[in-house]
Symmetry: C2
Subunit: 463 residues, 2 copies
């Protein structure tokens, strides 16, 4: 079996913890690992790690690769040059597996940002699904609805059994409350989990029938010697979901009930729902002090959050933005996100702390002509060999030891020591030691933007 | 006439905006000036600035003097070495005025943290009060109660007129709701504003009668050649309020109704009450984005505060602490403050940004063996000539120009330039120029505390 992890995402639903450049699947909400990492580990119980492919947007590739690197050597991460929804991504992944591995296996496709705790039951469902997929069906995993949710799509099944699954009658869009209540009552409707399985050749055949506009363009991609998806070809793909492109049109769709727990963590309300509650029904994460609140979620990422007498409220603190929201309005977080985007307010886009393959940096202060960052370089890591056209830099070591190469000359700096890097000087920062390296960087210049960077060498392939 | 501004305070009620070391009167809540500055300016309409004395705790002296320096030359600020409530402070101020100025004037005593917008009506009341004080009465200003507040003390008056005031019958403690309702109905009860006037000699005579334990100790203080209140003598004073010590016992108390507006800003609820409301009844201060909240206060001091669907809620954001509180529970902010104090959590004590006579500093980052600050030195200001026993420092100029004297040698540094200061080296930082100076300071050492500072010279008298 092979696996495909869909690791895109806009980062809007769990704002301000998620950002456009740091979406939900990268977050570590409750555990010591991110949702993406948990997803990878779940799949690795069903297949060899080397059979797992992740597909993500070009903006997230470095972070996805970095997170997966701690779980396996050389994770396969394919990068979509622009967002074209799920159908082109899944079609290309199927082609990739067939060409690269010269095989026609069953492929398990999973979103990267859902929470499933009961891995054993998940594996059992996958094994059932594999049988049905081998029979030539596209098997979608359905969730037995526990209440009339209006935020999900539903799948209606016929009474025709295929092994332990059902033949699908039709897919339905997000219903209104009345319709959702009817669906739950009838018992033949399931929530669409976005998890499904198919033989690669079956998907490609169904694609040829149902979406020839996608299928016909697949021949323009060649993965035999490359892991790259070229922008010029990918751009020609229609932007369409796999549900629209195949699932709703094909007559080879089966539904299998997912036996494990499942939560799509689609809003702060659902984070509250899965959280561990105290005797007042509060979920407290981080540095929180409360006086008499009830049924509320308090999330502190660093600062003290003090709450008094709240009810059914969500408070989320991050370095540069605070959210305070009534629990029944958490869907509207998206509106705030969109407003910020329209206002060109970077608060929707990035955190003050930005993760990189080599560690992270935090913007500490900025002003007229200067920008100050704290930079952490993890042991064994190295920033690219680079220069800047518009800024000089000054580095002071805080913790650990730094190896700096400046215009070909090597400098080893211990805490308290500093170095000046002039405009256009070629330099690199490296931590070849066992302890974390922390430095303060003071940038000076008229133009202080991330884009002012000329890379000469990079151990993460970013040249 | 002379004035006494009582500028102490614990900083608990408007936490997290107020802190133990930055109490309410120093805050700039709505205007371009602090409550203390507004109080000083109000008094300066009634008397020469040189007649205004401020009394505050030793912890606040530098900040009080700094804020008043922008309003007059050499403001008189007396420092209480420890907190002994209001009676000893007022008694010493009366003695100070009599001895220092060799006169027996009427003294107007005012808290520094109340909001009064109608200065004209305030002045008119003061002029009425002066007449009654000249007749030998201690005149307290009463507020006509507009609702049965249980958080204030009340003053009951007789029907005996003294000019446009009344002879006082008795002072009453904070009542319960039933009693408060009765007081409001009866019409002979007023809220105790804490503002009062007296001839210095009258106060001292009444003190001799009502509180001989305080009066007898006054002779141990001598202000003829000094502005200092010695710790060893002040420590012997009882800790007692002027209400207990004199007002409740003396038969020379008159009450004059304060004709102006008045708000003691004693809680976030009262900040909401005086704030400018939008059409949904929200008061928004700072960088706030709202979706459908009602009757709420959103206060952002720097970061984005996004709110959705809140009702009757107070959200306050500061650099290191967030408060989210139902409007009817804002009195309980004190409980959070006390809990933090018990936990030795500095969040009750100081802000990340600490104001100094020469400007301010903000702690940007701290870790094992290092501490990083951004320091702003205002034009014309200079930090003390100093050295440290346990830390080295590294300064990088961000904005403006720095004059640094290190071991007797002068260095002029422009943006991007840096200097190292070793342990025990004597150094000073100065901004003799017209623009603001901003630097990054990286401290390195095993012991990084504010107290590790040996001062040799200081333009603010802190040696």
């Amino acid at each position: 079996m092979y696996g495909l992890i869909l690791a895109g995402g806009s980062g809007s639903r769990l704002w301000p913890l998620s950002r456009e450049l740091y979406p939900k699947q990268l977050l570590n909400i409750q555990n010591t690992e991110s949702l993406l990492q948990a997803t990878f580990e779940r799949l690795a119980e069903c297949m060899p790690s080397s059979h797992i492919i992740s597909m993500t947007g070009v903006k997230h590739v470095a972070n996805v690769r970095y997170q997966l690197s701690s779980l396996c050597d050389n994770p396969v991460v394919l990068s979509e040059p622009i967002s074209k929804n799920t159908a082109p991504a899944i079609a290309l992944a199927a082609k990739y597996i067939v060409e690269k591995f010269n095989t026609d296996p069953v492929v398990l496709v999973v979103p990267s940002d859902h929470m499933i705790n009961d891995t054993e039951k998940f594996i059992a469902t996958v094994k059932e699904g594999e049988k049905i997929a081998e029979m030539g069906y596209i098997v979608t995993f359905g969730i037995k609805p526990s209440y009339p949710e209006t935020g999900y799509g539903y799948i209606n099944v016929t009474d025709k059994h295929i092994e332990r699954g059902f033949k699908v009658n039709r897919f339905v869009e997000k219903p209104d409350t009345e319709l959702a209540e009817k669906y739950v009552k009838e018992g033949t409707y399931y929530w669409n989990s976005g998890i499904f399985m198919f033989k690669a050749s079956v998907l490609l055949e169904e694609l040829a029938k149902c979406s020839p506009d996608i299928y016909s363009k697949l021949s323009n991609f060649d993965f035999t010697d490359s892991n790259e998806i070229p922008f010029t070809e990918f751009e020609k793909m229609p932007s369409i979901s796999i549900d629209y492109a195949v699932m709703e049109k094909s007559d080879k769709i089966a539904l299998l009930k997912l036996e494990s727990d499942w939560n799509d963590l689609g809003s702060w309300k659902s984070i509250y729902d899965v959280g561990k509650k105290d005797e007042d029904g509060n979920v407290k994460i981080g540095h929180v002090l409360d006086e008499g609140s009830k049924n509320s979620l308090m999330y502190s990422s660093s600062k003290l959050v003090a709450t008094i007498g709240l009810e059914d409220t969500v408070i989320v603190e991050t370095e540069d933005a605070i959210l305070a929201c009534k629990s029944d309005r958490t869907q509207d977080v998206k509106k705030i996100f969109e407003t910020l985007k329209k206002q060109n307010d970077d608060t929707h886009l990035v955190h003050k702390t930005v993760y990189r393959p080599w560690g992270y940096y935090t913007v500490l202060a900025q002003g007229r002509g200067f920008l100050t960052k704290m930079i952490q370089v993890n042991p064994g890591q190295k920033l690219s060999v680079q220069s800047h056209n518009h800024r000089s830099e000054h580095w002071v070591v805080l913790e650990g030891m730094a190896k700096v190469v400046l215009e070909g000359k090597e400098h080893i700096l211990s805490p308290g020591h500093s170095i000046d890097i002039d405009v256009k000087e070629i330099h690199s920062l490296q931590n070849p030691y066992k302890d974390v390296l922390k430095i303060i960087e003071v940038q000076k210049g008229e133009l202080l933007i991330e884009e002012d960077i000329i890379r000469y060498e990079d151990m993460y392939g970013r040249v």
